[in-house]
Symmetry: C2
Amino acid sequence: MTAAVHALINDNKIEAAMLEIGQAARRAAAELAIAEPGQKDQALRVAAQELRHHTSGIIEANRRDLEAAEEAGKNGAYLDRLMLDPDRIEAIASGLETIAALEDPVGKTIAEWQRPNGLDISRVRTPIGVIGIIYESRPNVTADAGALSLKSGNAAILRGGSDSHHSSVAILTCLTHGLRSAGLPADAIQLVPTTDREAVGHMLKGLGGTLDLIVPRGGKSLVARVQEEARVPVFAHLEGICHTYVDRGADIDMAVEIILNAKLRRTGVCGATETLLVDRNADDDYLSPLVKALLDAGCEVRGDAAAQAADERVVAATDEDWGQEFLDSIIAVKTVDGVDDAIAHIARYSSQHTDSIITECHGTAERFLKRVDSAIVMHNASTQFADGGEFGMGAEIGIATGRMHARGPVGVEQLTTFKYVVRGSGQTRPK
Amino acid sequence: MTAAVHALINDNKIEAAMLEIGQAARRAAAELAIAEPGQKDQALRVAAQELRHHTSGIIEANRRDLEAAEEAGKNGAYLDRLMLDPDRIEAIASGLETIAALEDPVGKTIAEWQRPNGLDISRVRTPIGVIGIIYESRPNVTADAGALSLKSGNAAILRGGSDSHHSSVAILTCLTHGLRSAGLPADAIQLVPTTDREAVGHMLKGLGGTLDLIVPRGGKSLVARVQEEARVPVFAHLEGICHTYVDRGADIDMAVEIILNAKLRRTGVCGATETLLVDRNADDDYLSPLVKALLDAGCEVRGDAAAQAADERVVAATDEDWGQEFLDSIIAVKTVDGVDDAIAHIARYSSQHTDSIITECHGTAERFLKRVDSAIVMHNASTQFADGGEFGMGAEIGIATGRMHARGPVGVEQLTTFKYVVRGSGQTRPK
């Protein structure tokens, strides 16, 4: 970060400062695009060591954020998201090493073919360019998002929440040290040095064409604002309204085990199932054990008439419960008339994040997998597997439910684009 | 197209009519996504036959458009773009058959892997959904764009130029007949039945969330408006400012042959070279024959001091000539200090469309191919190869210079997105 940026911020010239940041990122991106894989990995490994060496300093910075948040009357869950301790800092450091160990996506040939005239055409992965990440209270995003951007050859402009600003600055210092030690530009990962909300508005407008992509990490209102206002592409999901459909052909023991995991393993994640659909034709056998298992595990069940008849603890679902993202120990349960009715319900209410079918019938499963138009469709598995790490991508910057470029978990590969490389021997195009 | 849409248009309720069209397209898209490849191909083949059978009717409709355009005082080039004759109609018909013969991209597995816990994950191509195509006078776009959308499983909303409206309606009738004969929804390809410009504005806003993508086909002002105002993703290129760099390591005969083709084969296409960069270190040997060959072929050369010294017919280039898209028999010629200087010039002035290096030196070529950040980079080949057909994609809906999803020629594969299909055997996610 240049002195010029700080001077502009001090003069309250936020727009000029943000444009300066964008241009510095663009220059850094040009260097990153041709950096050797070893340089990027070294930067990440050195940053990990720095995080470990400066644990106490980071905790001290974090304590200032925590005290301010407490004074502002934030609740316990909020403070917990903000809090850093030695274990969490170690997790951040080893996360950087995990990302360093991933295969480098840049320069990889995705496809290659030869034309009859002898031209060799290949499609080669290249970085996207400059990525803006807008996030809220979790300071670990500073490291994760910065590292994923770097690994994929992109410059990052990080705009963390004002509540975690001191923690983020302390973490960024370690990342910057890593970049310098590897001979990479320090501006490859920049943290917006002001908590003025105006800065976000400038990012959404694209910083004078220097920003190629925005990734919002945070609650629904942040994501909604970014999706509504951004003039550059956005990778995000607004909601995870995930469905699990238990078909007449399901193994009921498997179905019970999966639904308990899909709903209750963690209720606050976007891959948690929010609605259970049960095949009406399997009513007597299936609905009751599924509903009872959820209730016995402490889950509130809001059901249709059939679900209410299955157990007296079930409360009546209202129309608002379908398509509701509870993010809590609450589930909506509906009986449907077979797989096509389930597909129709999902088409209407799903947020196109992750939807799963439980059945032993291969044909029914394939019908569901083909016809449900979500980023992730599953058969006989818990929707909570919707995660870049679980997909084997090593780490993810988020999950996207848009239709273009990246859908599902967004890992380093999804943070790249491509170009065509054409190798000839003097070919000219005939009239 | 429903009667409801026509009634709304007659009442001048353009917005309501456009939303109705969007919803009809969305319903059609759901059917197309699961259509059998054979159905889509049959629709295209029947449409091709219909075009041939109704050649005289199409020419009659086209004559009405031509007469109106003549009355409006359009120039000869404009009238030529608008004009249809039996040969052009046959070319449109066989174009549909070419698209029918392409491999179906939908349902194709792009990647597949297994996780240690036994989950099978595959990434499978799916249609994007609903594509809006906004174009100007060429009526053949009605068939080409409609067919490429259909082949890739997408519903198309076509908004042709008002000048070609009668021709487009006649062509659409043939496409609709093909769709019906194959048991596909007629609304899979819709033509906006009004030439009111307000309709374009509604498309740019996304038709109530029913439009997934816009492809503008036309002049720079149309593309600029779409890129500026669209609230949905756009596949387009604003300009094709393509460079050819002749390195000191070039075979001069090859370089002359390529530059003549790259500039002059067709001067009005986006892949035409607009600026020739010549290595200063090869000055005496290379600059003169390159410049003379262009001049002798009737090309105006606007050059820097060195180029002017090479031939008295060279006029002085101004600053505006670098980065200029002439689309004419005019070329800007500049001497540069080797490959890195050429790369720097291209980074500054290129529109990231297509840029080529001519050299026999492998290392220099690879440096250029790696460092030039354009959708297509070439070695020892004419920039006029920047074309979906020449790339072996069968047909293209256009060339994209954006960084996301599709770059370079946009063929049927680029008109798809993907989803993850996860197949399990009861897996639940550990805490």
